[in-house]
């Protein structure tokens, strides 16, 4: 989909080449789903035209959390603590509302050690994009189950997962999330527009991206393998993204699409495939997820969106600009008020 004005075909709306959006070489395993997500992110960020100095790449600990080093080298990155990315992102965004917050996490980082912070980030509706690179296992410690592994899923060494999985999308919707999508690392056609829609959304945008671990969880019996996803993925809709002020250049058949206007004026157009899925219906989203869980299907697409909620910075009435820009006179109590205040203690 062509959404970029093409006065110079080699630069984006910020006047930057695609090179600028690249990072250091990945140190993850060859074939890792996370590397594909990084490439889709580079494309999405480049096309979206994010100014690198305003991008804050936030992450926790794990394979997924290493990836912010692999894109937009120029941007600030914060590879913090295991499961604590949401709080760091919250503090950074409050400090400077102009920052574009992009959080990268994994299933261990989010669904286990960081589950509390995940929940509260969603409750607060911090304006950020939160990507879970979800492979159902702990890669860096050599393949233990994570909490998103499906019950009955089998480890490489034969152990069977006996515990119910935590559905991060279902949980997010329960918690009042305002943008929830599920996708697959191998499906750039779906993931790139979903990422861009997430960038355009004002509030917490959750993207749970199934991202197979080629080393520890890509075998027969795993429900997070390339083969399993290929056989069980069900697309809710086709997905196109149109930037703010971009012309919608595709002629859609009337009645075949849902056109959702996002907060910054961008559009996400959902093409009907089979059922007419309504992503503004929270109950339908939850029912769809429950049914997929029972049938073993992997439902992907924009599960839920609410474009009318206020985000944390709005609720806190934060200034538009960085708090670091305020000087003594902006922040201190005036001398007159101070004298009166001290007098009130006498």
């Amino acid at each position: 989909m062509d959404t970029i004005p093409k006065s110079n075909p080699n630069v984006n709306t910020s006047g930057l080449t695609r090179e600028v959006y690249k990072g250091s070489p990945s140190t993850l395993c060859a074939g890792c789903g996370h590397n594909s997500i990084t490439n889709h992110l580079i494309k999405a960020l480049y096309e979206y035209g994010i100014e690198p100095h305003l991008l804050a790449k936030m992450s926790g600990i794990g394979c997924s959390s290493k990836t912010p080093a692999y894109f937009v080298e120029r941007a600030h990155g914060y590879n913090g603590l295991h499961g604590r990315m949401p709080s760091a992102a919250t503090g950074a965004k409050l400090a400077n509302r102009e920052l574009f917050m992009l959080g990268i996490s994994g299933d261990g980082d989010t669904a286990s050690i960081g589950l509390g912070q995940y929940c509260h980030l969603i409750r607060r509706n911090l304006d950020c994009t939160y990507i879970v690179e979800d492979n159902g296992c702990y890669g860096l410690t050599k393949g233990q189950f994570s909490a998103t592994a499906d019950i009955g899923s089998v480890l490489k060494r034969g152990q069977i997962n006996e515990f119910e999985m935590i559905d991060l999308c279902g949980l997010a919707i329960e918690l009042g999330a305002t943008f929830v999508a599920r996708s697959f690392s191998g499906d750039g056609k779906q993931l790139v527009p979903l990422l861009q829609a997430a960038f355009s959304h004002r509030g917490t945008a959750i993207l749970d991206v199934i991202s197979p671990c080629v080393t520890f969880n890509d075998h027969e019996g795993s429900t997070k393998s390339y083969a399993y996803v290929k056989d069980h993925e069900v697309l809710l809709h086709g997905t196109d993204y149109f930037a703010p002020r971009a012309e919608i250049v595709v002629d859609y058949e009337p009645g075949t699409v849902r056109d959702i206007t996002l907060e910054d004026g961008a559009h996400i157009v959902l093409r009907k495939l089979h059922d007419d899925y309504d992503p503004t219906d929270r109950l339908e989203a939850l029912r769809t997820l429950h049914e997929a869980r029972t049938s073993g299907e992997l439902v992907t697409g924009l599960l839920y969106v609410d474009t009318n909620a206020s985000d944390l910075c709005e609720r806190e009435r934060m200034p538009r600009t960085s708090l670091s820009g305020f000087a003594e006179d902006d922040l201190r109590i005036s001398r007159d008020d101070w004298a009166a205040l001290m007098g009130s203690f006498a």
């Binding site: 960085s322 305020f326 001290m342």
Partner: protein
């Protein structure tokens, strides 16, 4: 006994005695009498015993006294032990229904029975807050017995209730009721008296340390607060929020120049603070022991990744839940090194309300200047009790934001590295996310990194980084608040910090009367400045007085001092959960100093 006594009100938590105690306290201040109020309260909303002590002293001692001179007994549950707590010659005002026999019948105290419940029932209509008014009755009784001018009590009461004018007359009538009952039924039989001390409290106000610290945060330019409620630190953040609502709202846009987030736990609270510090805001959290334990992880990250943030630890008695409403200097050694791995933090020890205020401002400057978390170790006694203090001075100094590179700076630099030690002081330069320059960005990580913030596991790079962090810590030695020294060439000295100071002040006066003179050094921060070792070297015996079981600062000193000075240190420890009093200092010191004197005499003979 004139103006030198401790009044203790023993009541039931939740019975509303706080207003009465504050009226009494403020009345005494209005008379010019220096007071030191101490609220000794339970971890409970309603029902458990609580005590409020007001110590009056002509010399203005701010520490607790373990002697109770005048007891107001309004809690039957603690009646027996409350009676036992009164010193010989003391006074007991008590509910007339309490039986005075056996252990509660003492022949060395004066009893003033007052039928509080009956008086309240007789004079106040049903539906009025009789339970609360009983407390105002005892204020009137005390005013009569101790000769406190009723007009001054009335003025203090009117001020106390200025936001609830409707309650003034009812409460005032309760005070008068007590006053008149005592006048008519309780002939004076004790020797205690209050006399006005004109000028005695001029230019002093009553303020708690948490409020002082909150004002320091406002004036220090703090713009992000993330916190989780925990006694005794809660009122610090609540006061900050109160002042932001009053003074930080743009009248035109209604925008608020501060974010104040109640976090889901202390992990998130400090996570937000460090995230905000990374993005350039001055950020703080306040907590107490259990919270500081949870913050260890992020404190270590912020130390290693070099991100500013301010953490107030209003210490309470631990370990674990411990005594949540009692005081302790119990987190000193933990805060000094909080984190796994080799870690050393800047820690400030405010001892007064003025320092709670000033060190709060200092903490933000130090955090920015050294790009590291700074811990301010207050305690429950300082944080939650009222102290007589000079009004807080308007800051004349601007913010010190430390080594921050702007886009203009970057334009002039051929290259820069986030962790390069350009100036040889161990302190690198940083950029703030959002700085509009292609070279501004860098990658912050808690994993091994080189001077240019690239990932590195190389041994020499790792060691070089740890050494630089130590160099930075050493730079801080002469920048943090320096020790205060009172020295006159004596052989022995006291070394203390934080609120222990107030007991030391009185203890030195008592010791002087006993013929034992000691010098005094008050430590106000970690890392230790060079002056501390020099002071110890000038004394043969240095008593390190602190409020914990293990001699935590004593241990930190021993870890840094040269071997030949170690035997000069003696550890004096108080750890009951009550604020330390002078006797806890004088008793061990008199004993040790007399023994030292005898040993010296024996050596001569």
């Amino acid at each position: 006994m004139v103006n030198d006594l401790t009044i203790r009100a023993a009541t039931v938590n939740g019975s509303g005695s706080q207003s009465s105690n504050l009226v009494l306290t403020h009345a005494l201040v209005r008379l010019g009498i220096p007071v030191a109020p101490k609220n000794i309260f339970p971890s409970n909303i309603e029902g458990l015993p609580t005590w409020f002590d007001v110590r009056l002293s002509p010399r203005g001692y701010q520490c607790r006294s373990r002697d109770v001179d005048v007891l107001v007994a309004l809690n039957l549950v603690t009646w027996e032990s409350d009676v036992a707590s009164v010193k010989s010659g003391g006074v007991i005002v008590h509910d007339a229904s309490y039986s005075v026999h056996g252990k509660t019948a003492r022949d060395d105290v004066t009893y003033y029975p007052v039928p509080f419940t009956e008086l309240s029932k007789e004079h106040f209509p049903q539906g009025s807050p009789r339970k609360y008014l009983i407390n105002m009755i005892y204020v009137g009784v005390l005013a009569q017995i101790l000769a406190i001018d009723l007009a001054v009590v009335e003025a203090a009461l009117r001020d106390q209730f200025k936001r609830k004018p409707a309650a003034v007359e009812l409460n005032l009538s309760a005070v008068r009721l007590g006053f008149e009952y005592a006048r008519d039924h309780l002939p004076k039989a004790d020797s205690y008296r209050v006399e006005p001390m004109p000028g005695g409290t001029d230019n002093l106000v009553l303020m708690d340390g948490n409020r002082g610290a909150a004002l320091g945060c406002v004036m220090g330019g703090c713009t992000v607060v993330a916190w989780y409620p925990i006694t005794p630190s809660t009122s610090l953040c609540e006061a900050f929020i109160e002042y932001c609502d009053r003074f930080r709202v743009d009248p035109a846009t209604k925008e608020r120049r501060a974010a104040t987030i109640q976090a889901e736990d202390e992990l998130a609270a400090i996570g937000m603070v460090i995230g905000a510090g990374w993005a350039g805001a001055r950020a703080m959290t306040s907590t107490s022991g259990p919270g500081i334990s949870l913050m260890a992880e992020t404190a270590g990250f912020a130390y290693y990744a070099e991100i500013p943030g301010v953490i107030f630890d209003v210490q309470r008695a631990g370990p674990s839940t411990g005594l949540p409403t009692r005081t302790m200097q119990g987190d000193v050694s933990f805060a000094a090194q909080i984190s796994h791995g080799d870690t050393k933090h800047i820690v400030l020890f405010p001892g007064t309300v003025t320092e709670a205020y000033e060190f709060a401002m200092d903490a933000f400057d130090l955090a920015d200047r050294f790009q590291t978390p700074v811990f301010v170790l207050s305690d429950l006694d300082l944080g939650m009790n009222l102290w007589l203090t000079p009004p807080l001075a308007y800051p004349e100094r601007g913010f010190d934001r430390g080594k921050v590179l702007s886009a203009e700076d970057l334009e002039k630099l051929p290259s820069w590295g986030r962790y390069r030690d350009v100036d040889g002081d161990g302190i690198p330069y940083r950029t703030i996310p959002g700085t509009p320059h292609p070279n501004a960005g860098y990658f912050t990580r808690g994993s091994g990194h080189d001077e240019d913030s690239h990932y590195s596991e190389r041994p020499e790079v790792y060691q070089r980084n740890l050494d630089r962090l130590l160099r930075k810590y050493d730079t801080a030695r002469s920048v943090v608040p320096q020790p205060l020294i009172e020295e006159a060439g004596h052989e022995a000295a006291i070394l203390a910090y934080g609120t222990t100071h107030h007991a030391v002040v009185e203890a030195r006066d008592i010791l002087r009367q006993e013929g034992v003179e000691v010098d005094y050094l008050r430590v106000r921060a970690l890392p230790f400045s060079a002056g501390i070792e020099a002071f110890i070297a000038r004394h043969r015996r240095v008593y390190v007085v602190e409020q914990n079981r293990d001699g935590q600062l004593f241990g930190l000193l021993r870890a840094e001092l040269p071997a030949h000075l170690l035997e000069r240190l003696r550890s004096v420890r108080h750890y009951t959960g009550e604020p330390i009093d002078a006797a806890a200092v004088t008793e061990p010191l008199l004993h040790a100093e007399r023994a030292a004197g005898q040993a010296a005499a024996a050596a001569l003979s």
